[in-house]
């Protein structure tokens, strides 16, 4: 787009046409300024031995000491790998499940059933992990619903939230249950965008349902799938603080402790601001690189471009 030069008559006309769009953008910009850009100043903590009483100006500078300590800490590599494993598993399973659900839903012809089922699938998305965490703890407790069922079947009850084998699957599956319905929306929208004539033509040519899905629906949403996959790279270090924090306990730190929960314990509980800020900055830095990469990939494979 060629923007007219400032103060030219064309610019005036442009503004007259589009001022409303800019106005609508304003609240977002304000929110970003207050909650995203202004606090960025706080990253100086990562290079300080921060003391809230002394503030950003008064706290002593320690250079890269916080990062050195972080990288030498036996805990840090573990939380990074846990974060990666949990986040990637969630992304992959989440996307696959959302695509499958969308394809299935697209085939439902009874409208009322489709609507009801869709609502049931969305609903868990709106539950907060604080609430859900409490419910899951009860259900998954050895003396809870699941434990009792296992006992009744004569199986030794599995302690899902106290076992390093079971903690990650539990986290991934519960997250899947909560978010898959929500993730499906975008694919469902993409599917409705496919020209119905294609289906009709295929049907006339004798393609059965599975063939129509295989040769029309899937290729039809492929650009969106690729786009979503590329964009989700930026989330690769998002293990999901709310969820883990509400479900974990010290016995599963080995497989369940992620960067965010570690930062929380260091920063807010133990008042180790420097270290916590360093860990947070590390995560942001990697996240930034990934976003750049994902943007390039999205451009290359899906033709998606902002700038």
């Amino acid at each position: 787009m060629n923007l007219p030069t400032l103060f030219s008559p064309q610019f005036k006309a442009y503004l007259q046409r589009n001022w409303m769009l800019y106005l609508m953008l304003l609240p977002t910009l304000v929110l970003f300024a207050i909650f995203a850009y202004y606090p960025m100043y706080g990253v100086v903590m990562a290079f300080q031995k921060f003391n809230p009483g002394l503030g950003f100006d008064g706290s002593p500078w320690v250079g890269m000491a916080n990062f050195t300590r972080l990288l030498n800490s036996p805990t840090f590599p573990r939380v990074v790998s846990n974060t990666l494993i949990i986040a990637v598993s969630k992304l992959v399973t989440g996307q696959v499940a959302a695509i499958i659900l969308a394809l299935l839903f697209n085939e439902i012809r009874v409208v009322w059933f489709k609507r009801v089922a869709q609502n049931f699938l969305y609903m868990p998305h709106f539950l907060s992990w604080v609430v859900l965490g409490g419910i899951l703890m009860e259900i998954l407790a050895p003396m809870g619903l699941v434990g009792k069922a296992q006992e009744a079947l004569g199986i030794e009850p599995i302690i899902f939230l106290g076992s390093n084998t079971w903690f990650r699957p539990t986290v991934i599956i519960t997250s899947l249950w909560k978010e898959a319905g929500w993730g499906m929306i975008i694919y469902l929208a993409a599917l409705t965008g496919i020209d119905p004539e294609l289906y009709e033509a295929a049907a006339i040519d004798g393609a059965n349902r599975f063939q129509r899905i295989r040769y029309i629906a899937i290729p039809g949403i492929m650009p969106i799938v690729i786009l979503m996959a590329c964009l989700s790279l930026g989330d690769i270090l998002q293990g999901g603080f709310d969820q883990i924090f509400n479900l974990y306990n010290p016995t599963v730190y080995q497989t369940g402790d992620i960067i965010d929960t570690y930062v929380y314990r260091m920063g807010l509980v133990d008042a180790q601001y420097g270290i916590a800020a360093a860990a947070g900055l590390f995560k942001s830095f990697i996240g930034f690189i990934l976003i750049v990469v994902s943007y390039r990939l999205a451009d290359k494979y899906a033709g998606y471009k902002i700038f």
């Binding site: 503030g55 800490s73 302690i159 939230l161 390093n164 807010l268």
Partner: protein, 598 residues
């Protein structure tokens, strides 16, 4: 590094002989005259600098302000609460406001309806007597919340005037940022002899927690000796039902716990013994007697420090004996002594297990005599000494009577003198053998035809602050024990029909009597059996940096071993890591401190 504080409501509500703070039980009603006018020293100081003024009668001031008086001297079988005189110069001609920070919880209830932390019979009394208005600027329920709120207030440079129980790390940062008032000299000048005596009774160590470079930046919080110490509680009715003997050894504890669980005496979810994720020392369902019986001292949230043979301090969390205890706990867990998910449950979540009668054994202080379990399930609790069989004999963790937090003020606080003088008066009101303070009729209790009945709004100094936490605090460490012994022996001698309503209520309630006896017993045994965490200094530089990380790992490895997630050998690996990751540096620094105080 052990200042996890949880307000012990249950302790306070026992409304009885056990003293606590709920019921500042004292001696027979006729000894009231012993109440001493408050703050002689303070009064003298005031007289020297100001125009002579006479102390005022507190009752007159309260009546004039329309604030009710504590006690029920007029009622049938009532008693009197003698109020100390208000020192000269009070109430202040120009009322002042002092802001505070302190713990609270959902069970802190004020009556009549509409009253709250900032406006209740106590705050109104203080306004009438001293012209001081107390306003809570920040409150917390959990210790995490406490640290966060202190941090935020510090970052905003907006600290309340009185900072109760400032956590170690934050205290060090506040001193570093030069935010705190040097309270020591002010206290020396204005504190009453009685208050000073209470602090002195705790020894010079009382100030260790508040002193940095020789300056006293806070007031110590002195409390009762043995006040969090545990005994073994067992359901006697269950023992009788199964024809078992009371457990004496650790092996007996294991066997009895399993017998209870197998017999399912408390329903299908019965288990043997109380335990929670705070598996070292905690205030509810603690396991510290087991650790201590193996010679390992424990603190709140980490292990403790003890004297080695060569006189230096060593960290008990890396001793080989830890492995022995872990092996026992692992076995016990596998056998089914504990709740299967105990490691995911905090001490505050355990009360339902007691009140629903699911469990038959517990290590707890007096609140092991759980009132709800008695009324719901007819539990007959029996308290017993620490089991034998550990290589170190009968031992348990005990707290020094002074190491329970500190009170600090920001530099900007201008009314330290007034605050201290008011507290002199408050200390005078509390806890003398000879003073009775059971709260206000119609607020904390009702008296009908000579029958005492407590309300939801228990009377406790810690609920009203500002220089009193759970047991009121800042009284002589041994006074509670003396009072209880006095009450058990003296009140029992009063013929039943001559007891006043409060005394009668105590003897009418078997739980109160049981708790009184348990308290007296615990205090008498604590001196002998107590293991103390010897490290009472500020966190050292390396500690500030890595300690929380190390403790995290310690918790993880221990809990994982207990529940069988990791083999016992994982502990050796952990110890090696601990030393390499800076643990040895911490040991060296702690020993530097240790040498400096010898």
């Amino acid at each position: 590094m052990s200042t996890k504080k949880i307000s012990r409501r249950d302790f306070l509500r026992l409304a009885g002989l056990t003293g606590g703070a709920a019921a500042l039980a004292a001696c027979a009603p006729k000894m009231m005259e012993t109440a001493v006018p408050a703050t002689e020293a303070a009064t003298e100081a005031a007289v020297a600098t100001e125009a002579p003024a006479l102390p005022k009668k507190a009752a007159d001031l309260l009546k004039a302000a329309g604030v009710p008086l504590p006690g029920s001297p007029e009622a049938f079988k009532g008693w009197e609460t003698p109020l100390p005189d208000v020192p000269a110069g009070y109430p202040l001609a120009e009322p002042i406001t002092i802001t505070t920070a302190r713990p609270t919880d959902s069970e802190v209830v004020f009556l009549p309806k509409g009253d709250d932390l900032d406006n209740n019979v106590w705050t109104r009394s203080m306004a009438a007597l001293f012209g001081v208005n107390f306003v809570n600027k920040l409150t917390w329920v959990e210790s995490d919340e406490q640290a966060q709120k202190y941090n935020l207030a510090m970052a905003a440079n907006d600290l309340p005037d009185i900072l109760q129980d400032v956590p170690d790390d934050i205290f060090v940062q506040m001193v570093e940022a030069d935010m705190l008032l040097e309270l020591g000299p002010i206290w020396d000048q204005y504190a009453s002899p009685k208050w000073k005596a209470a602090v002195e009774a705790a020894g010079a160590e009382a100030w260790r927690y508040t002193t940095v470079n020789g300056k006293r930046y806070g007031l110590p919080h002195v409390h009762d000796a043995g006040h969090d110490d545990a005994v073994l509680w067992v359901r006697k009715d269950w023992l009788d039902k199964l024809g078992l003997k009371a457990p004496e050894t650790w092996q007996d504890v294991h066997d009895v716990a399993l017998a209870f669980a197998e017999a399912k005496l408390g329903g299908p979810d019965t288990y043997g013994m109380l335990a929670c994720n705070e598996f070292r020392k905690t205030w509810f369902g603690t396991l510290d007697p087991l650790w201590c019986s193996y010679g390992i001292s424990v603190g709140w949230g980490s292990f403790g420090w003890s004297k080695a043979a060569d006189g230096s301090l060593e960290y008990d969390g890396i001793k080989p004996a830890v492995k022995d205890v872990l092996a026992i706990l692992q076995q016990w867990y596998a056998d089914g002594v504990f709740r299967k998910d105990f490691y995911a449950i905090g001490p505050d979540q355990l009360t339902p297990d007691l009140s629903s009668g699911r469990v038959g054994l517990q290590f707890n202080p007096v609140w092991g005599a759980n009132r709800a379990s008695v009324s719901n399930t007819g539990a007959d609790w029996l308290f017993l000494d620490i089991p034998i069989g550990g290589p170190a004999g009968r031992r348990k963790q005990t707290q020094s009577p002074w190491n329970n937090g500190r009170f600090c003020c920001p530099k900007t606080f201008e009314h330290a003198k007034e605050w201290i003088e008011l507290t002199n008066w408050r200390i005078e009101l509390e806890e003398t053998v000879g003073t009775r303070m059971h709260g206000w009729e119609g607020i904390n209790y009702n008296l009908k035809d000579g029958v005492y009945e407590s309300t939801d709004a228990d009377w406790a100094f810690w609920t009203v602050g500002p220089l009193g936490t759970r047991t009121g605090g800042n009284h002589n460490p041994t006074i509670l024990g003396e009072m209880i012994n006095h009450n058990i022996t003296e009140w029992e001698k009063i013929p039943a029909d001559q007891r006043d309503a409060f005394q009668a209520a105590q003897f009418a309630d078997p739980v109160s009597v049981l708790r009184a006896k348990a308290t007296a017993y615990i205090i008498s045994m604590s001196q002998k059996e107590g293991l103390v965490d010897e490290f009472t200094g500020q966190p050292t530089p390396t500690m500030q940096e890595i300690w929380s990380d190390l403790v995290d790992q310690e918790t993880e490895v221990c809990l994982s071993i207990i529940i069988g997630q990791k083999p016992l050998e994982a502990f050796d690996e952990y110890v090696a890591n601990w030393k390499a990751a800076g643990g040895e540096q911490v040991v060296a620094e702690v020993n530097e401190w240790w040498k400096s105080i010898q």
